[in-house]
Amino acid sequence: MSNKLLEINNLRTSFRIGDKYYAAVDDVSLTVNKNEVLGIVGESGSGKSALAFSIMGLHTKARVEGNIFYKDQDIANIAPAKLNKLRGDDIAMIFQDPLTALNPLMKIGDQIAETLILHKPEMSQKQRKDRVIELINLVRIPRAEYVYEQFPHELSGGMRQRIVIAIAIANQPDLLIADEPTTALDVTIQAQVLDLIRELKDDLNSGVILITHDLGVVAEMADRVAVMYAGQIVEIADVHTLFENPLHPYTRSLLNSVPAEGQDKLHVIQGVVPSLQKLPRNGCRFAARIPWVDESAHEENPELHEVEPGHFVRCTCYSHFYFPDESKEAQVHGNS
């Protein structure tokens, strides 16, 4: 138990559209342990970022239900003052778009220093500046003193993403949430940024939630993986199990969509993630995108089943799922 850093129970985050609330994160439960990277994958709109924002308490107009235990303290609907003590100190977040995540009118150094001012007010100005320089060096940006005085528009995207990381790790957080930290970067920079996150995790012994839609990143970085679809976790397992024995149709479709050598045609998952308003709340949410699977294969109220220790799959349809052959797929496509 002492190894457990974060425990989320039945989290439901809903947004108001018109005069009704729609859940973007629907009944999500998961845990993150110390020194562990939990990967969360799913396509756009599956609720990954909404989940991360819920943990950070960054939703300003959403209804958050359920529990988020951080070291035995429920932070789901905690008082803002208490939350602000944790944010940036114990729990920190790396944002996906480095181009907009920094204040354009503040010097780089001041933006990093701000989080120190907020959580370590006892530091002298000199100590703070030294620490900021140290952090800029830590994220491997050369000429730290010079960069300290620069403004965000003077830095490249990759450098800005490192500054965002420097801000997140300034107070050595126990839990680091990285929301698609490499999406906006080119491939060579991606690898460097991922290395950086991994090193920091090893140094600080922190837990990391890594949100991404890049399965390659997950395979490389994560210890355990949760696959999200339409606001729910559809499969969760350790990374080897997930890649070697994926069970849920969605996971299998995702893995099948990754280009492999000798393959001349990519698998495409039909359709798109339904919008919040159109999403059916009963039955298997993925059913609409695998219409060739018989309806009786789905559960009425799909639940997570533990198929082997630590490997959970939602809905019974996984045992009946198969990929349609080419001709059949075309036919299904024609009918829809």
């Binding site: 944010r87 907009t100 204040n103 701000e114 801000i167």
Partner: protein, 320 residues
């Protein structure tokens, strides 16, 4: 940054020259000249033509412009036909009056705009915001000259809180405290009237800047650092939202010019705007030219001021 400012200042020189050429050509295009109507009807056409030749009125325009412009540079704006005095002397007092009126208006404009804009933007879509936005719509819809008349009638004639015309009570010695207070009292009502109408665009602008900045991602970064709401507002949202307002400051001068023309007429305030209208009515073209030139230069300098302010407060504009 200094490079940018110097370059920006240098650009204003051709702007002002072009402005003076335009004004001069427009004045030339107006029918008639100084001899057309004012000279004794007994003077014959031949004598008039001889006089025109002698005064240089038949010279080509660029020659006349050269003379006019060289006069301008030496501070000679010509003679007012109506007031029989040098235009420069005539303008001096008017310019000072209009300057104080504009300054008072600007100050009141921002005293109203900044708190209203901040409240409206921070608590957007609340009842408070709706009432402030309602006021701005009213302000946009109300013509200044109607509003100024209503203000004059209510506060000048009905309640008699303010004097109804002039810029100072006659008979006071310049330099005394009473003189200054009397000037301020005369300024206040026209300045408030103008500010109440002019401020609405700044309120709206500030409101939408704040609403916009609130949704920017670096605000989320600031919250994720653990910054309290008040810190997020004061350190991040406000500074970024006030920036365009600061830049707008210089352009505000252009709007003020339009405003003073109306307000000075209605409040009988002896400033540039009133002089402008009077001179047009009296066909006192050398005065009209001078006033338009000064208004034009004020607008150009306002734009210059805006750019300089912006380059000082926005690091993205500075050129290395």
């Amino acid at each position: 940054m200094w490079k940018f400012i110097v370059r920006r200042i240098l650009i204003t020189i051709p702007q002002i020259i072009l402005l003076s050429v335009l004004i001069f050509l427009l004045a030339q295009a107006m029918p008639g000249d100084a001899l057309s109507g004012l000279v004794d009807p007994n003077v014959s056409l031949e004598q008039k033509n001889a006089l025109r030749e002698k005064l240089g009125l038949n010279d080509p325009w660029y020659q006349k412009y050269g003379e006019w412009a060289s006069g301008l540079v030496q501070g000679d704006l010509g003679q007012s036909f109506r007031f029989k005095m040098p235009v420069a002397d005539l303008l001096e007092q008017r310019l000072i009056n209009t300057f104080w009126l504009s300054l008072a208006t600007l100050i009141i404009t921002y005293i109203i705009a900044i708190p209203l804009g901040i409240l409206s933007g921070r608590y957007n879509d609340s009842i408070l915001d709706s009432s402030i936005t309602g006021y701005t719509y009213l302000g946009f819809a109300t013509p200044l000259f109607i509003f100024a008349l209503v203000m004059l009638w209510v506060f000048g004639y009905q309640l008699q809180w303010f004097p109804t015309s002039g810029s100072v009570t006659p008979g006071l010695e310049p330099g005394t405290l009473e003189y200054v207070l009397s000037k301020a009292r005369h300024l206040l009502l026209p300045a408030i009237s103008m500010a109440l109408i002019q401020t609405v665009s700044t309120v709206q602008y500030l409101r939408s800047e704040i609403v916009d900045t609130k949704q920017r991602e670096f605000i989320i970064t600031a919250r994720a650092k653990g910054a309290s709401e008040s810190r997020v507002y004061n350190r991040h949202i406000l500074r970024n939202s006030l920036l365009p307002i600061a830049a707008f400051f210089g352009y505000e001068i252009t709007f003020l010019i339009g405003g003073t023309v109306f307000v000075e007429m209605i409040f009988g305030f002896p400033g540039m705007g009133q002089l402008f209208i009077e001179s047009i009515n009296l066909r006192d073209y050398s005065v009209v030219n001078a006033v338009v030139l000064i208004f034009g230069i004020a607008a150009i300098l306002g734009a210059l001021l805006s750019d300089i302010i912006l380059s000082l407060v926005d690091p993205r504009i500075r050129i290395k």
